[in-house]
Amino acid sequence: MPSTILSAVRTPLATALSGVAANVFSYVPEQIPAPAVVVVPDSPYMEFETIGKSTFRCKLNYTITCCVAYNSNPASLDNIEQLITSVVAVIPAGYDVQVVDRPTVTQVGASNLLVADIRVSTWYTQTA
């Protein structure tokens, strides 16, 4: 059975991030318990940069979305900065870590979250 992006990329990335002090998801969960780190496909999601078509290969773009509770502005900003710092530190080799978008306040259900996206890319080759 060929490898899947879930098994070869998203789950290993979520596993690598599991050491940070937050709930980690390799997909977008129905509810987000803060603090949380969520691996979300970015746009464009897949880029085909190499020649040939005999094997499925692509560059995958993700945002690693960091979420903390938004209660007090100074504390929340400090919390998300610390979460971003800890996430960037454990991103595995082979990932192009690009930028962190500015934090924004997002309402999820009844709670407000301070959210920032870390943009990363990696390369995937389907193996048998």
Partner: protein
């Protein structure tokens, strides 16, 4: 006649029998002809006197990988810089070009934060052979 389009996905590249597709983002086999121009009483006259082909390959670096292509090219350039490597470049099924190139030392490093890449300009010894079918 219907429009025909072939793309980079139709390309395949082997150097020294090793497939380079997985690391190659661009490959071109380019001729640089030498054409002498003479000014005659009847106007300009042209004489094609020479051809120098170059295989240009843009790659994602793979230092440290199992069966690393960069390490293989480095070893070839280090141990046998004057020994040619056989190349097969398929433009599309039915159009295959073969030639022999001299190895080069890959560049080490790159710019943050992107992937480490390199461009090889491999000198072709002789003239590429074509196989059209």
């Amino acid at each position: 006649m219907a429009t025909t389009v072939i793309t980079g996905r139709d390309l395949t590249l082997t150097i020294a029998t090793t497939a380079y597709d997985a690391q190659t983002t661009s490959v071109t086999l380019v001729n640089s002809p030498t054409i002498d121009v003479y000014q005659t009483l009847d106007g300009k006259a042209y004489k094609h006197t020479d051809d120098q082909w170059t295989l240009n390959v843009e790659l994602l670096a793979d230092w440290g990988a199992v069966s690393s292509l960069f390490e293989a090219m480095w070893s070839a350039a280090d141990s046998a810089p004057n020994t040619t490597l056989a190349v097969s470049l398929t433009a599309v099924t039915g159009a295959v070009f073969t030639c022999n190139v001299l190895p080069v030392f890959p560049t080490i490093g790159g710019a943050a934060p992107g992937a480490q890449t390199d461009t090889w300009a491999l000198t072709v010894v002789g003239t590429p052979a074509d196989t059209f079918s």
